[in-house]
Amino acid sequence: MSVFELELKKGKFVISECLTCKDVVWPPSEYCSICFEKVNWRKSDRIGKILEYSKKGDMFFCLAEFEKKIRIIGTLQVYSNQPEIGKKIKLDTCEVHGGNYNFTMTLV
C-alpha cells in the first residue's frame, strides 16, 4: 500500500513532491514523473478552489484544485452560499472506503 493510501486511511491528505524538480507529483507516486528521483511526502494544503461542479439529487459534487496541481472530485457540502467556479473550498475529510477514496469539501 502506498504512503498516500496509508495516510489517507488515517484521514490525512499527503502528497508526493520531488525535491529535485521542486514540483508536486500528482497523482501520488513513489517516483517523480520527470526525473525518476524518489519523492518526499508532505501534508497538502487543504484549501483549494472549485474548477467545476454539479449536483446529483440533493448532493453537490465538485472538481477541486489544490496547490495549483492536485485535482480531485469529491462531495461538496453546501449550507448557505451556493458554489461558484473559482470559489475557495476546504478539504474536510478524506478516507478510503470499499477501495474508493472519498473526499468531502465545504465552501470556505
Partner: protein, 369 residues
C-alpha cells in the same frame, strides 16, 4: 510505404443480451468470412482481438475456433478505443512487412469491466463515467451556452439514424422534447445523453497493397493515423470543454494524409455522451469551437448524415472493444457506396474518432475510397 486497405468486415447485432465473449468474437468472424468468399483461413498472418474482457488468451482462442493458425496473435486493451488501437497495430504489422493479411475482431459483453477505470482515484467515489460526462457537459454549457435542447438534438439525431442500422442496439425514434424529459441522472446529464454498454462484436480485414486485388475490387485505404495519450487521470484534462488529445491526434492524422477537415465527407464520432459529439466535431476542426450545436441542429433538421450515420454510440450502443471497429466498418461502407439507407452521396473521405477515459487518449483515422 506499403499502402494498407480495408477489404472485409463482419458485425453482430449490438444488444443487451448476455453472450459469451468467445461466441461474440466467432460470430463477427463468421460474418466476415461469409462476406469474403476469397478469404481462406490460411491467408491470415495476424489475428488481433480488441476487448476489455478479463478472459485470457482470446486471440488464440478465436484463432482456434475459426481454424486459423496465424503468425501473430494477441489481445489489445485500451478501454473505449481498444478497437482503433487494434486496427493501428494491425496496420503496423502490415506496414512493417511482418504480415500481409490481418484479421481484427473487437468484442465486449454488456457487463464489461472496462466501463470504470478503477485506478483513477483522483475521481474519488465519482468513478462512474456519468460524472466525467457531467463535468464536460457543465463546462461546455458554461463556455459556449450549450442548452439541454442542443444536447437532446444530438441524441434525437443519433437515435433517428440508428433506426436504419440493422445492428443497432436502439431502434426507437424519439423527439427532442421526449428526450428532454428523460430521466435525470445529474443536474447536467440525462439518461438520453448517455451511450449504453451492450454486447456486440465487429471484425475487419486489413491487407497490404500487394494482395489487395485477391479480396476486393472496392478497397478502402487507410490514409491517415493520429493518436495521442495525455494521461490516464480524467482530472489531468486542462480544459473540460474540449478534448486536447483529440485535437492533437487529428493534427497528426490530417498531416499524414494531406487531407484537411474540409475534405471530410463523413465522420464517425465517439459520442459517449451527447456533449462529446459537440466537443469532438469542434476539436477535429469540422466546425469552429462553439459552433457544434448549431451544426448538429442543421444536420438533424435536414436529415444530413455527415456525422454518425449509423447512429453513433448513443443510437447503436457501445460495446467498448467493438466500437472503434464498428465505426471503421460504417465509414468503409460509406466510402464503398454500399451503406443503403444511410448512404451519404458521393462520400470519398471518411474520418473515425475513437477515444478513451474522458478523452485522456484519442485515435483519429482518415480513410479514402
Amino acid at each position: 510505404m506499403n499502402e494498407i486497405a480495408i477489404v472485409g468486415y463482419g458485425n453482430t447485432k449490438f444488444s443487451r443480451e448476455e453472450i459469451p465473449v468467445e461466441s461474440l468474437l466467432l460470430n463477427a468472424t463468421k460474418s466476415l468470412f461469409d462476406q469474403n468468399p476469397n478469404l481462406n483461413q490460411k491467408d491470415i498472418d495476424a489475428v488481433l482481438v480488441s476487448t476489455n474482457d478479463n478472459t485470457k488468451y482470446l486471440s488464440a482462442i478465436l484463432s482456434e475456433l475459426a481454424g486459423i493458425q496465424p503468425k501473430t496473435s494477441h489481445t489489445v486493451e485500451s478501454l473505449c478505443n481498444s478497437g482503433t488501437n487494434s486496427v493501428v497495430s494491425a496496420y503496423s504489422y502490415i506496414a512493417s512487412g511482418l504480415a500481409d493479411v490481418a484479421l481484427v475482431v473487437g468484442a465486449e459483453r454488456r457487463n464489461s469491466p472496462g466501463q470504470i477505470l478503477e485506478w483513477d482515484n483522483s475521481r474519488g467515489e465519482f468513478k462512474h463515467p456519468i460524472f466525467w460526462g457531467t463535468i464536460f457537459t457543465k463546462a461546455h454549457k458554461r463556455k459556449f451556452g450549450t442548452t439541454e435542447e442542443d444536447l437532446a438534438t444530438v441524441s434525437a439525431k443519433n437515435h433517428k439514424y440508428a433506426h436504419d442500422n440493422p445492428n443497432a442496439y436502439s431502434n426507437k425514434i424519439y423527439s427532442v422534447e421526449e428526450l428532454m424529459n428523460s430521466k435525470i441522472l445529474t443536474d447536467d446529464l440525462k439518461v438520453s445523453d448517455c451511450s449504453r454498454p451492450c454486447s456486440g462484436a465487429s471484425a475487419v480485414l486489413l491487407v497490404s497493397e500487394k494482395v489487395v486485388k485477391k479480396y476486393s475490387d472496392n478497397p478502402v485505404w487507410i490514409k491517415g493515423i493520429g493518436q495521442k495519450t495525455l494521461s490516464a487521470s480524467f482530472t489531468k484534462n486542462q480544459d473540460f470543454s474540449s478534448m486536447s488529445s483529440t485535437r492533437e491526434a487529428a493534427k497528426i492524422a490530417f498531416d499524414m494524409s494531406n487531407f484537411d477537415p474540409n475534405d471530410v465527407d463523413v465522420a464517425e464520432i465517439h459520442d459517449a455522451f451527447t456533449v462529446c459529439e459537440l466537443m469532438a466535431i469542434e476539436d477535429l476542426g469540422l466546425v469552429s469551437k462553439g459552433d457544434g450545436a448549431k451544426f448538429v441542429k442543421t444536420l438533424y433538421e435536414t436529415g444530413d448524415r455527415k456525422i454518425n450515420p449509423r447512429g453513433g454510440l448513443i443510437g447503436s450502443g457501445h460495446p467498448l472493444g467493438a466500437t472503434g471497429i464498428a465505426q471503421i466498418i460504417e465509414t468503409t461502407q460509406q466510402l464503398q457506396g454500399i451503406a443503403g439507407k444511410r448512404q451519404i452521396e458521393n462520400a470519398k473521405v471518411g474520418l473515425v474518432h475513437n477515444m478513451s477515459a474522458a478523452a485522456t487518449s484519442s485515435t483519429v483515422l482518415l480513410l479514402k475510397s
